[in-house]
Amino acid sequence: MNPAPRLWNLVAELTYRCPLRCPYCSNPTRLGDFPERLSADDWGRVFRESRSLGAVHVGLTGGEPSARADLPEIVALAHDAGLYTHLVTAAHPLDPEGLRGLAKRGLASVQISLQDAFADASDAIAGTPSFERKLALCRATRELGLPLTLNVVLHRRNLGNTRAIIERARELDADRLELANTQYLGWALTNRDALLPSREALESARRVVERESQRSLRPEILFVLPDYFRKRPKACSAGWGQRHLIVTPNGRALPCHGASELDLPFWNVTEHSVEACWRDAPGMNAFRGEGWMQEPCRSCPERERDFGGCRCQAFALVGDAAATDPACELSPHHDRIVSAREQACEAADAAWIPRGPGLAE
């Protein structure tokens, strides 16, 4: 077998507990299957082993990572391992005082989620009053001199506020704004009829982003058209098992956070070294390279660019993780994307199911 690719980025999902109830949460829908099994010391070992495999960044995420009381200790271990330590938080329960403690322990950068540009709308989507806390934590981040990324998941109910969201990011002096169009996996797939926007709304948001990006280099704005509205699928996270390693709260080592929905033999860092989980686990190797591809991917000149699209989406919509991502127009199952768009269009006022609470709250 070929040697494994260099690992670049570790995503440490410390817990799936979260006080927010966003209907597009990317955590698995079966939250109960993921008890927290890793102590701070276990995480320390994962960090050190990942660093020696080449990892440069670690993203501490969840769920809400600050739901863990030992987060300061975990931050220190990540920093001491030589990783650029990035926190992804909903600012709940973490407060500015707590953030100062994390900065002292070596935290390098912070990503804070907003659900919309305004308090009412944002809190309605989050299912809990949280907007003002988020703003306070954004300001504290900049006061500490730490780089700030704002992440706003876009969907039908907030897409029209794109300009206001950009203005909010400027007011908060964010370095980067991720306007992340909802990926329809996990909870978002369950709530797709209530979230999927119209093509017109997307197009006008895209134009706003283009204009605003030309006006100033700050913040750097990331806006990617969702794959439901493109001719080609989005690339599978830089290639399956090529750059990123995700470790779930119970220790499973995955190539992306959606992969827990796939019935594949991934390994667990409590039973194997990180190196073995990355290099040898059959699940990790299932879609490395191109040998697994079916037509039309196998002979497609674009396969090196998008790697056949998202394996998790192929599984969710076609039932076969090795199939061409149905978001691709060339997929024989592309009609499932077309009909989802039409169905969502008719279900204009559909309600959503908020995500579940996770464990031990």
Binding site: W8, V56, H57, Y84, H86, A108, P147, T149, D175, R176
Partner: protein
């Protein structure tokens, strides 16, 4: 063309110039008010020379578009005005006199080595514009000359008043253009008014002039960029293996890139950084250009922040 639509276009042209001509650019406002430092004035003279060198080239392109011998006889004078009848004559030579008068090395300026990338892009955009558009639009784009005549006179006065350290002989370029610009402007305006036959033509002519105003404006943005002070982003951290890491990216940099970043102390300007690298690498022919392009790329990636120039004490 009816009298009415000619007058209308003429008014539109004046309106565009009143709104968008670069006399209202912050850099030019400061120049006129006597607020530029010696270093800033030098930066402008050095960079603006690149624009001067593009003028005869774009006028050559305009000549290739003209069928009418009398138009060409008139227009070719502009090339002679800039290049002179003999070496050391004409507008380009006068500009190099100005360069010497502000304390720059004539040959260094003529080498164009230190031209800033935003300035280069703006000037090249002007040549490409003329290349890609017809005679009417090309001539219309030259109508900034209408505003240039009076403005250059005011500039020469401001120089005498505020920048007395510049020898008066250095200002010959402005004085000579004060004479030439109104003649060139009238010639261009007559052509545009006579040949913009349809509403669509008049629209194209107006848009060409707007684009030219934008080009002159962004040229000055490019000059200002050279006075900003690059500083490594506080978000960037070096790892022990020489990798530079930011929240969303990790960059492996060679030793020359590292040398440039080490010079970015938030005090030195982009121009200073290029000069420092020139001093330590006299053998590298394009070092300034390499430094500027690298800094622009690092700015886009968020590795480097370009701090505003230090306010005058």
């Amino acid at each position: 063309m009816s009298q009415g639509s000619g007058a209308e276009l003429s008014a539109r042209i004046r309106e565009i110039l009143a709104e968008r001509y670069h006399d209202k650019h912050p850099f030019n406002l400061r120049m006129q008010a006597g607020e530029l430092t010696r270093e800033e004035l030098q930066r402008w003279v050095r960079n603006r020379y690149y624009y001067q060198t593009r003028i005869p080239i774009k006028d050559g392109l305009i000549l290739t578009k003209a069928e009418d011998p009398s138009f060409r006889r008139g227009w070719i004078r502009r090339i002679h005005d800039h290049d002179g009848e003999r070496p050391d004559e004409g507008g380009l030579a006068l500009w190099l006199d100005l360069a010497e008068a502000v304390g720059l090395d004539r040959d260094e300026v003529a080498s164009l080595r230190q031209v800033l990338p935003g300035v280069r892009r703006a000037c090249d955009a002007y040549v490409s514009f003329v290349e890609g558009h017809d005679l009417l639009e090309s001539v219309a784009s030259s109508l900034t000359e209408i505003a240039a005549g009076p403005y250059l006179g005011a500039r020469a006065d401001a120089f005498e008043k505020h920048y007395a350290w510049i020898a008066p002989e250095g200002l010959a370029y402005f004085r000579s253009r004060t004479q030439q610009a109104p003649r060139d402007a009238q010639e261009g305006l007559d052509y545009v008014l006579a040949h913009a036959q349809s509403e669509e033509d008049r629209q194209r002519a107006a848009e060409a002039l707007e684009q030219k105003c934008e080009i002159l404006w962004s040229l000055l943005d490019g000059v200002e960029w050279g006075g900003r002070r690059p500083a490594l982003s506080p978000a960037a951290r070096w790892q022990e293996d020489g990798m530079l890491v930011l929240p969303e990216r990790a960059i492996r940099l060679g030793s020359s890139a590292r040398e440039i970043l080490d010079a970015c102390d938030g005090e030195r300007t982009a121009d200073d950084v290029a000069t420092a690298l020139r001093t330590s690498h006299p053998e590298e022919e394009h070092i300034e250009r390499d430094v500027f392009e690298f800094l622009e790329q690092m700015e886009r990636l968020g590795v480097v922040r370009m701090l505003e120039p230090e306010p005058l004490g």
